[in-house]
C-alpha cells in the first residue's frame, strides 16, 4: 500500500513522453480547420430556398430532425390522454402542426424531437451546433435571439414573414427575420375576485392603475388573510422566470438590463424596481415568490386559491377558467411616472439552422406551424395570441375571450422589449442577474444598493473577460 505511492517519481519520464505525444495530437486536432464558417452563411440564399419551396410538391421526399416542444411521440400520446381525460380537443400548436405535416407531407420522414425547455434545451442545441450535427429545426425562447445574432439561423422565406405579425419574429444582426414564434404573449395582472371580496375590497371597483394601488390592495389581502391567504407580488425566481416578471416594471421606469457589450444593473431605475419587488414580496408566503419551482406559486392561485394576484401571460386564463376561479384581469399597473411597461414573453421561436441540409422541407414544417387553421384552433383553445395575421384578425379568435383581446391590444400598443442577450458569457451574466441580483433581493436582507454594486461588478467582469 505505502510503497506504491512513494515511488511515484519513477513514472515521470514516461509521463513526459505521453505529454509530448498528445500535445502534437491536440495541436493537429485544433488546427485542422480554421475557416470561419459561421460568418459566411449569413444571408446565404433566401431566394433560392424560396424558389425551391414554391416548386415543392407534397410527394417530395425528405428526412428531417426537428426539435420542438410537444410533438415527440411521448408528448403526443400524453396530450391525447390528457385531453381525453378532460373531455376537450388537443389544441397544442406542436401537436396540431405535426398532425398537419403528417397529412400534408406523407413522404417526409421526420424525427420529432423534444429536448426540454429553457437552459436544458439551449444546452442541448448548443451541443448539437458545436458538434456540427445541426437539427433541421431548432426552437426556444431567449436564446434563439443569441443564435440569430451569431448567424446560426437561415433567413425565413418571405412568404412566412408576410404571414405573421412582426412582433413574433426574431431578426439577425442584419435585421433579417430568421425565426418565428407561433405564439406570443405579454404580462397581465390576474386577480381572484372572491379573495378580494373576503379582504373587504370590492372586486368590481378596485383600482389597479398604479403600483401604489396594487400594493395597497395586495397588502390588504395579505393582512386580512392571516397567514392563510396572500396578496401576491412580483416573482423573483432564481432563473429566467424571475427576470421575465421583473422586466415589465423596470421597463415602465425606462430602465433596462443593457445587452450586447454593456450591462446596466447599477442604475436608479433598477434600484427603484427592486425596492418595489422586495416590498411586494412580503405578500408572498416565504419561499414561493423566489423558489426554483414556479409551479408552486401558480398552484396557489389556481388550485389552492390562496394567492389573490398573479402576474402572468394569457395562459393563466385557461388555468383560472379550468379551476373555476372567479377572476378578473387588467393591464399591468403603471409606475409613478404614468408609464406602463411590459416584456415579450411566452414566445417559442422556431428557426432553421443555416447548416441544415433540408431547409425547404424544414420551412414547410414551419409553414404548417403558423398556418391559419392550426393557429386559430390553438389560439381559441389555449387563449393565446397567435402569430398568423389572419388568425389575429379573425373575429372568432378575438371574441373567444376578453383576455385574449386585451393581450392582443397590449401587444399592438407599442414597441415591447424582449430580454436582451450579452456578447460574451451570456449565461453566466444571466446567472448573476437571476440568482445574485433578483433572487437575492427577496431572499436576503442586504441593501439593494450593495446587491446592485456587487452584481454590476461581477456581470461586468464576465462581459469583459
Amino acid at each position: 500500500m505505502l510503497t506504491q505511492y512513494d515511488k511515484i517519481g519513477k513514472v515521470k519520464p514516461l509521463l513526459a513522453v505521453a505529454m509530448a505525444v498528445s500535445l502534437t495530437a491536440g495541436l493537429t486536432a485544433c488546427g485542422g480547420n480554421n475557416e470561419p464558417s459561421q460568418q459566411s452563411n449569413g444571408a446565404a440564399s433566401p431566394s433560392a430556398s424560396n424558389a425551391a419551396t414554391e416548386s415543392a410538391s407534397p410527394v417530395e421526399q425528405a428526412k428531417l430532425t426537428v426539435v420542438g416542444n410537444g410533438w415527440d411521440d411521448a408528448s403526443m400520446e400524453k396530450s391525447e390522454a390528457d385531453a381525453k381525460e378532460a373531455g376537450i380537443e388537443v389544441s397544442d400548436y406542436n401537436y396540431l402542426a405535426r398532425k398537419k405535416v403528417e397529412a400534408d407531407y406523407p413522404n417526409y420522414e421526420v424525427d420529432w424531437q423534444n429536448w426540454g425547455w429553457a437552459e436544458q434545451l439551449d444546452q442541448k442545441q448548443r451541443a448539437a451546433f458545436i458538434s456540427g450535427s445541426y437539427p433541421d429545426i431548432v426552437h426556444g425562447e431567449t436564446f434563439m435571439t443569441t443564435y440569430a445574432r451569431e448567424g446560426i439561423l437561415e433567413p425565413l422565406p418571405q412568404d412566412i414573414v408576410d404571414m405573421v405579425n412582426p412582433n413574433f419574429l426574431v431578426t439577425n444582426a442584419d435585421g433579417v427575420p430568421v425565426a418565428v414564434s407561433p405564439k406570443g404573449n405579454v404580462f397581465l395582472l390576474f386577480y381572484n375576485k372572491d379573495l378580494l371580496k373576503d379582504a373587504g375590497i370590492d372586486p368590481e371597483t378596485v383600482k389597479l392603475d398604479t403600483w401604489a394601488d396594487w400594493q395597497a390592495a395586495s397588502d390588504q389581502v395579505t393582512a386580512a388573510g392571516n397567514g392563510k391567504v396572500f396578496g401576491g407580488g412580483i416573482p423573483s425566481h432564481p432563473h429566467l422566470g424571475g427576470a421575465f416578471r421583473v422586466y415589465p416594471f423596470l421597463n415602465a421606469l425606462g430602465g433596462s438590463w443593457g445587452g450586447g457589450d454593456e450591462v446596466t444593473l447599477n442604475t436608479p431605475e433598477m434600484a427603484q424596481t427592486l425596492e418595489f419587488v422586495r416590498a411586494m414580496d412580503k405578500n408572498f408566503p416565504k419561499g414561493i415568490g423566489n423558489g426554483t419551482d414556479e409551479g408552486a406559486l401558480y398552484n396557489m392561485f389556481e388550485k389552492d386559491k390562496t394567492i389573490a394576484f398573479v402576474v402572468n401571460g394569457t395562459w393563466q386564463a385557461a388555468g383560472a377558467k379550468n379551476n373555476n376561479i372567479n377572476y378578473g384581469v387588467v393591464q399591468l399597473p403603471k409606475a409613478d411616472n404614468g408609464q406602463s411597461g411590459n416584456v415579450l414573453v411566452g414566445f417559442d421561436y422556431y428557426g432553421v439552422p443555416a447548416k441544415s441540409t433540408n431547409k425547404e422541407a424544414a420551412f414547410n414544417v414551419i409553414r404548417d406551424l403558423v398556418a391559419k387553421d392550426v393557429q386559430i384552433e390553438f389560439a381559441i383553445g389555449t387563449v393565446t395570441p397567435p402569430a398568423n395575421k389572419e388568425a389575429l384578425a379573425e373575429a372568432s379568435v378575438i371574441d373567444s375571450n376578453p383576455i385574449l383581446k386585451s393581450a392582443i391590444d397590449a401587444m399592438s400598443s407599442g414597441e415591447i422589449p424582449a430580454l436582451p442577450v450579452y456578447d460574451q458569457n451570456d449565461s453566466q451574466i444571466w446567472d448573476v442577474i437571476n440568482t445574485k441580483v433578483i433572487a437575492a433581493t427577496t431572499m436576503t436582507s442586504k441593501s439593494v444598493e450593495d446587491i446592485l454594486k456587487i452584481g454590476q461588478s461581477e456581470a461586468e467582469k464576465y462581459l469583459k473577460q
Binding site: I8, G32, D73, W117, N299
Partner: protein, 291 residues
C-alpha cells in the same frame, strides 16, 4: 451490561437502516400519486389516497423501453470488457516477467487517482471532433463526432476501472502457481490456461468485478446526461437526470412521473444486489484491504 450495549447497537443500526431505505419507499409511493395531489401533500410518506399507476404505465407506453435496453446493453458491455481486461492484465502483471512491468503497475495505480475533472471538458471536445466518425472528416469537423451518437455509451473509459485490474493482480499474487504450471506442462496454451484453469478458480473475484462494473455503469447518469440528447440513445438514469435537473429551472414539473421513472430505473441494480450482494460487497472490501 454487554447485552444492553448490543440492544443499543441494534437499535441505532435499525434506525439508520430506516433512513437508508426511506427514499426508495418515498419514490415508490410518490410514483403512485397524482400530480395535483403530490404538490400539496406535505407528508413525509406520500401515501396516495387514490393510487394510480398512470405514471408507471406511461413508462412502458411512451418509448422508454429503448433507454432501458440501452442501459442494460451498456452495463453488460462494460462488465464484460473490464472483467476481461482485468483477468488478462491482472494475470500478465502477476505472472509474466517483461520489460515495463513495474511501470505498468504504477501506471495502473496512478490511473486510478487521476482526477476526472481534468478530462471532463477535453474528452467532450475530443469526442465531438473525433475524425472520420459521426460525419466528421479527417480534420474532425463537418459532423458531430460521437456527440449524440449511440456509440458514445460504449467508447469512454473511466480511470477508476483500473482498480479492478490491480485487484485481480493482487488475487493472482496470492494464488500458488501449481495449477497453471501443471497445465503448461501438459502443453496447454496461454489462452487455454486462462480460460480453463484461472477463470474457474477465480470465479468469485471475477463475479465481483463483473457485478460492480455492471452496477456502476448502470448508475452512471453523467455520460448520457452530457453527451446524449435523444431519448432513443440515452439510458434510464440519464433520462431521469435530465428530468431532475429541470426541477431547478423554469418550467412545469411532473413529480409523480419522475418518481415512477426513478423507481423503475433503480429496480434492476437493486434486485441484482439483493441476490448477489455476497460478491459485490466482498470485492469492495477486498479492494480496500489489498489496495
Amino acid at each position: 451490561m454487554k447485552k444492553l450495549g448490543r440492544w443499543l447497537a441494534l437499535a441505532v443500526l435499525l434506525l439508520g437502516a430506516v433512513v437508508m431505505i426511506y427514499p426508495f419507499l418515498f419514490s415508490l409511493l410518490a410514483g403512485m400519486t397524482r400530480r395535483q395531489e403530490f404538490q400539496n401533500l406535505g407528508e413525509m410518506l406520500p401515501l396516495p389516497k387514490d393510487p394510480t399507476f398512470q405514471a408507471y404505465r406511461s413508462i412502458f407506453t411512451t418509448g422508454l423501453i429503448r433507454p432501458f435496453f440501452n442501459t442494460l446493453l451498456r452495463s453488460l458491455w462494460y462488465a464484460f470488457v473490464i472483467s476481461g481486461f482485468s483477468v488478462m492484465m491482472g494475470y500478465v502483471l502477476s505472472r509474466l516477467r517483461f520489460k515495463g512491468r513495474t511501470f505498468f503497475l504504477y501506471f495502473i495505480i496512478c490511473a486510478n487517482m487521476i482526477p476526472g475533472v481534468l478530462t471532463l471538458i477535453p474528452t467532450y471536445i475530443e469526442m465531438a471532433r473525433i475524425p472520420f466518425l459521426g460525419g466528421n472528416d479527417w480534420t474532425g469537423f463537418g459532423g458531430s463526432g460521437l456527440i449524440n451518437h449511440p456509440a458514445i455509451l460504449y467508447v469512454l473509459l473511466s480511470p477508476a476501472s483500473a482498480v479492478w485490474i490491480f485487484l485481480f493482480r493482487q488475487t493472482m499474487d496470492s494464488l500458488p502457481r501449481d495449477y497453471e504450471e501443471a497445465a503448461y506442462m501438459d502443453g496447454s496454451t496461454f489462452m487455454n490456461t486462462i480460460v480453463r484453469i484461472i477463470v474457474p478458480i477465480q470465479r468469485p473475484i471475477i463475479a465481483t468485478i463483473f457485478l460492480n462494473m455492471a452496477i456502476v455503469t448502470w448508475n452512471d447518469f453523467m455520460t448520457p446526461f452530457i453527451y446524449i440528447n435523444n431519448l432513443k440513445y440515452t439510458t434510464l438514469p440519464g433520462y431521469v437526470g435530465t428530468l431532475v435537473a429541470a426541477l431547478q429551472q423554469v418550467g412545469d414539473r411532473d413529480y409523480p412521473q419522475i418518481f415512477a421513472l426513478s423507481t423503475i430505473s433503480v429496480l434492476p441494480p437493486v434486485l441484482i444486489f439483493l441476490f448477489l450482494q455476497r460478491y459485490i460487497v466482498q470485492g469492495f472490501a477486498n479492494a480496500g484491504i489489498k489496495g
